[in-house]
Amino acid sequence: MVVMLMPVAVLAGNTATMVNAPAYSVGITSFTVTYVSDTEVDLNWTYDATVSNVMVRAKWGSYPANPPNSATAPSDGYLVYYGSGLSAVDTSMNFNNNPDTLYYSIWGQKGDGSWYLIPSQGSEESREMIGLLLGFLAVSLLIAGLVLKKSWVMWFSIPFWVILSIYMAYYQSMGFPASAQHAFLFIGLGATVAIGFGAIRMQAKPANEHHDDDNLDDDDASTKIYKAERKKYRRSS
């Protein structure tokens, strides 16, 4: 007797991938806000073919508000640009007088006059406070090193001078003329190096060459020995 068992295996067939790419647009495809100086911010943007005009508005402290609907033009903040161009320069601010943050929004307007309700945005703020902070740290460390007679404190100011010089070079202006900035940096760096070398040289002298006790460096081991021996001598005499 022969029994034939013939099952039918049903398998999933091949597959393919279906890709769904939404034609989603906010009109503006890029928006760049560039700090040039405390009185100038450059604005650049691009937009797609659905846009016929753009409007750029700015506001201190927060982004300009969106219009309530696509039929209403944006109105919050102050107008920086309206038209079909690709760049604008805003010189209406003075970060020296107002160190707050300035916020920019750009909206695209379609050919039918309606507005995209999702803006592209960017912001800028004064760089001066950061530069001043770096300068303050550098000068403070230099003076502290002189007063405390600690050469390593003075050496520690060097990185801040370097960061400050790069920062100034990158942002061009901090409200000072370029020559003044360079002179400031040159003097600061030179003083640091000179004082640092001087301190090292002084530390390298043997203890018995110190004649002026007030100018002795406490970090010097030989100085400590000299002071201890002097104290012992005074007690004994």
Binding site: M1, L5, P7, V8, T15, A16, M18, A21, P22
Partner: protein
């Protein structure tokens, strides 16, 4: 008398033993060899091409919401002939490389991985965050086009003969609500074959 009893006892024992052995012999004589043959029908189908960008055959590849698209090489927004789809109106081809006739069923999963992940409505109609889909095979009238569900679709094409192939396409109605982003999403089209 005692001798006769012994003989009788021996005879009984022999008879009993004989009866015990008899069925064994009978059973042995009635045994036959059973051959079980397991011959599965390995049913498979191959579809080409392996991807489809909606509105990407003649269009930009970008899709609008609340719009119906077809995998029609003659036009992404052109419906196949409702009195009978033509081969040239079908983007996909399914071939049956096996030795038996098969039925084909097409499913499409929910769209995922994008900014707008529409779900298959499973009823062919689009809605808010839902897309609808149909399958059409070459030669079929619009009345025969089958709703393409995420699972459990009806048979779209019946009796594809061994070694045969057939062209087919998909109709996708995009979600009715506006897109919230531009990141593409994707779905897997699965063609399941079963012995006809």
């Amino acid at each position: 008398m005692r001798r006769e009893m012994k003989i009788l006892r021996v005879l009984i024992i022999v008879a009993v033993l004989g009866l015990m052995l008899l069925p064994i012999k009978v059973m042995a004589a009635s045994t036959a060899t059973i051959i079980v043959t397991n011959s599965p029908y390995f049913v498979s189908v191959n579809i080409t091409p392996s991807s489809w960008a909606i509105n990407g055959l003649t269009g930009s590849g970008l899709v609008n919401n609340a719009t119906t698209y077809y995998s029609n090489p003659l036009g992404d927004t052109v419906s196949p002939t409702i009195l009978g789809a033509k081969d040239s109106e079908c983007y996909f081809n399914a071939s049956n490389g096996m030795a038996i006739a098969v039925d084909l069923t097409v499913t499409t999963s929910d769209l995922s991985g994008g900014s707008d992940n529409s779900t298959n409505s499973n009823n062919g109609s689009a809605g808010a965050t839902f897309y609808g889909a149909y399958t059409y095979f070459s030669g079929q009238t619009s009345l025969q086009w089958v709703v393409c569900k995420s699972s459990g679709s009806s048979i779209g094409y019946s009796n594809l003969l061994a070694g045969g192939n057939v062209n087919f396409g998909l109709i996708v109605s995009e979600q009715t609500n506006a897109w919230t982003g531009a990141t593409p999403s994707s779905s897997t089209i699965t063609v399941t074959s079963s012995a006809h």
